[in-house]
């Protein structure tokens, strides 16, 4: 238990230090590095300790903690009211008022008599989440050390609040550990709200009009989720006197369906599923570490985490089917929209929502195979997507643009970065890397449960292949003898993080059988009593494929790059009118440059039209989901 409390409290301490210490001193970096290493090591320690044990529950009853939490909640509410009124937005005020009213009334009526047996717990799923938060989270904080100074150089108009930024990042990490280790629903709610406010403040870091707009949109939607969460847990306690996750899961389904649906709703909002996707796409104005940490690997994972926890309660109801459909629709619609986007961060955002949709759909189905694939998806996605966000962040400043169309010949200008980015992209959609293993498993899970979902997966994965390959092709195009290499401009901190994450991406693919047997199967055993029959032959083939790729690719590169001298270099075919490889002689003896642009198919996969359709369908499904639960 000490490790759990340490993981929750330690980042909090670091956050305070980050806020208090004067800026730009060496000590800050030293503390950051030590903190990050600790945050990586402790979850691994947890993993090792609990590898052979089942879930463990801990008691930490303390009236003081509860009062403290209440005070913080009131403070946050007041703070939100303050910044909302200052920005002249009143919806957050309303939402916060409703929320506070519910929670305060609850606290003072039944709250004082509430008995919570175990406030903290740890099981394999928590450990997986803790590993993701710890390792990826600290890697990103490391990246931020190098990134934030450059951010301020590029954006001299933004006030340098890097201490505040660091404070929020570590506070967020603390809250994430809180969410995954809490058994008490009140505590989960408390940490949930902290992540909401952290996210909103981090999005609005830049403090210009667009950031403030996006920040409030995120705040509004997540507060709405928070309100529904609060309603859910209050209803739960009033009807069953239960306030703990493990007890909730043991209750009879008909009693707790509504609270579970409420909590699932909060999870849907946090995971930016349709119809709530716009807060995530709007959040892309934030600095890159924010996008990488919150909006791809950790906070949105908290959303799907809570949905996965709730899924046993919803099993086999119409509500579960609605959840599955919302996930499926989100997956398909956002995958199609991503085809038409040329803003790199937006493509990544839509891809994130898409993958989260798949996880939500798996949660809705809740068979062992589905949960297995959901966990695999969480792991693989977190690693690959954060890597990609970080790479895009660097590219943005070296090239001065986020547009994919400006990333021509990237492999010549930033070769190592492109290589790392290729690993990340490959991890997103190519066999034999992670996502394809997950998609493979997910497809099998879907076919047995509901072929409609498998069909959605088939179409969605076709769309996925398209937009990733298109982007990949853009960055690997080579033009002989071009442009300066800008690699030396990338800071050391950023490189370390990129390498860590790239290695992690490859490692989780190679280690996937071990992750499956060691972590996921025990969890499934606890939940379902049996484990899915592993197809070892397939595992071996996948393993061989990865190994083969990892061996052949570098060998080929070496051979063609350095060993093979038996070739003659000629120009590209430009109809014979070559001036050089990228210019040709056009009409009237003019010199025309070639331009290579990707297909975006705006007419067919345009954002507005598809998003409107998706939102409409998703809202309908949500109403049905709640309707079923209430009645």
């Amino acid at each position: 238990m000490k490790a759990l409390i340490f993981l929750i409290v330690f980042p909090l301490g670091i956050a305070v230090l980050a806020a208090v210490l004067p800026p730009k001193i060496r000590l800050r970096r030293a503390i950051a590095v030590i903190a990050n290493i600790t945050l990586c090591v402790v979850p691994i320690y947890l993993l090792v300790t609990y590898l052979d044990k089942g879930p463990a529950f801990f008691q930490l009853e303390s009236h003081v903690i509860n009062i403290f939490m209440l005070a913080i909640e009131v403070f946050i509410a007041g703070f939100i009211v303050y910044i909302s009124i200052r920005a002249k937005r009143y919806l957050p005020v309303l939402l916060v008022a409703v929320q506070s009213l519910i929670m305060l009334t609850f606290e003072f009526t039944s709250g004082s008599t509430m008995q919570i047996e175990h406030s903290l717990f740890v099981d394999k799923f928590s450990i997986i989440m803790a590993l993701i938060v710890g390792i990826i989270g600290s890697a990103i904080c490391l990246y931020a050390i190098g990134y934030i100074p450059e951010y301020h150089e590029h954006h001299k108009e933004v006030k340098d609040r890097s201490r505040y930024f660091a404070f929020l990042l570590y506070l967020f990490l603390s809250a994430m550990f809180g969410i995954v280790f809490s058994n008490s629903l009140m505590w989960i709610y408390f940490f949930w709200e902290i992540t909401t406010i952290c996210s909103a403040l981090l999005i609005g870091y830049r403090n210009d009009k667009q950031s403030v707009e996006s920040s409030f949109r995120a705040l509004n939607m997540n507060l709405l989720g928070g309100v529904v969460f609060a309603v859910g847990i209050v209803y739960l306690h009033n009807s069953t006197h239960v306030m703990e996750l493990d007890k909730l899961l043991r209750l009879d389904q008909s009693i707790v369906l509504l609270p579970a649906v409420c909590i699932a709703f909060a999870g849907l909002v946090k995971a930016a599923q349709l119809p709530f996707s716009s807060w995530l796409t709007g959040a892309m104005v934030a600095p890159t570490p924010v996008s990488a940490l919150l909006h791809s690997s950790t906070m949105v994972k908290a959303g799907v985490y809570i949905i996965l926890r709730m899924s046993p309660v919803l099993e086999n109801t119409a509500a579960a089917k609605m959840l599955m459909l919302i996930g499926g629709v989100s997956f398909l619609v956002t995958a199609l929209i991503a085809i038409s986007q040329n803003n790199a961060k937006k493509v990544l955002a839509y891809s994130t929502i898409s993958n989260l949709g798949l996880i939500v759909a798996c949660a809705g189905i809740n068979t062992q195979a589905a949960v297995w694939s959901a966990l695999l998806l969480i792991i693989f996605h977190a690693v690959a997507k954060s890597l990609l966000f970080l790479c895009v962040g660097i590219i943005e400043y070296k090239l001065g643009s986020r547009d994919i169309e400006d990333m021509d010949y990237l492999i010549m200008r930033l070769p190592k970065l492109t290589a790392v980015m290729m690993i990340g992209m490959a991890g997103m959609f190519i066999a034999p890397f992670g996502m394809i293993i997950s998609k493979f498993v997910t497809l099998k899970a879907f076919i047995d449960a509901n072929p409609g979902m498998a069909i959605i997966l088939a179409y969605g994965s076709a769309a996925t292949v398209f937009f990733w390959t298109k982007w990949m092709g853009k960055i690997i195009s080579i033009q002989h003898g071009v442009t300066e290499v800008m690699e030396h401009l990338v800071s050391r901190w950023e490189w370390i993080t990129l390498y860590i994450l790239a290695v992690a991406t490859v490692f989780v693919c190679l280690a996937f059988p071990f992750i499956s047997f060691g972590l996921i199967d025990p969890y499934l055993l606890e939940k379902f009593g049996t484990i899915p029959v592993a197809d070892t032959f397939n595992f071996i083939i996948v393993f061989i494929t990865i190994l083969g790729l990892l061996i052949i690719l570098p060998l080929c590169l070496l051979y063609f790059g350095f060993v093979n001298k038996n070739y003659k270099r000629v120009g590209t075919y430009l109809g014979g009118g070559n001036i050089d490889n990228v210019t040709f002689e056009g009409a009237m003896a003019s010199s025309q440059p070639i331009g290579l642009r990707n297909y975006y198919m705006e007419k067919y996969f345009g954002e507005t039209r598809l998003l409107n359709a998706g939102v409409f369908v998703a809202v309908t499904l949500l109403f049905i989901m709640f309707g079923v639960a209430v009645l």
Binding site: K568, G571, Y573, G576
Partner: protein, 145 residues
């Protein structure tokens, strides 16, 4: 063993021709003359071609293009001048812009005269070009050793 005789791929380029010879070149691909039965394919890409069939007398503008295309063809390669304009410039040889035949720009291996060159002559020319291809390939291999 040289396979060029069995599978020569032709790239056809029109350098200021009146299109008469071009029509005849494409006519040889039609069912009446059917060049494909010899394995000959008309390709549009110099990188895939063995034989460059040029029609027209090559003027100042197309000189660079012809050279460009020739450079992008992999060895062994053969240049075939189709039609009398490509051979010598014919009645246009004194024009201010005309260079007077392909051999003013590239080393020509086969000349197919005629205005317009008949498909039978063109086929004959291509088959001769295949022989030359084989010779060039053999010579190349010997030089490499």
């Amino acid at each position: 063993m040289s396979w060029f005789k069995r599978s020569p791929w032709v790239l056809h380029y029109n350098a200021t021709s009146c299109n008469g010879c071009d029509i005849e070149v494409f006519a040889s691909l039609t069912p009446m003359y059917d060049l494909e039965r010899f394995g000959i394919i008309s390709t549009g890409n110099p990188k895939h071609a063995d034989i460059l069939a040029i029609t027209g007398s090559v003027n100042v503008k197309s000189e660079q293009v012809v050279k460009n295309i020739y450079d992008q063809m992999p060895n062994p390669k053969v240049v075939m001048a189709v039609g009398i304009c490509a051979t010598s410039g014919c009645v246009f040889q004194d024009c201010y812009n005309v260079l007077g035949g392909v051999d003013k720009v590239l080393p020509v291996d086969v000349y197919v005269p005629g205005c317009a060159a008949r498909p039978e002559s063109i086929i004959d020319g291509v088959l001769k070009a295949c022989e030359i291809l084989q010779e060039k390939h053999a010579r190349q291999k010997k030089e490499k050793r």
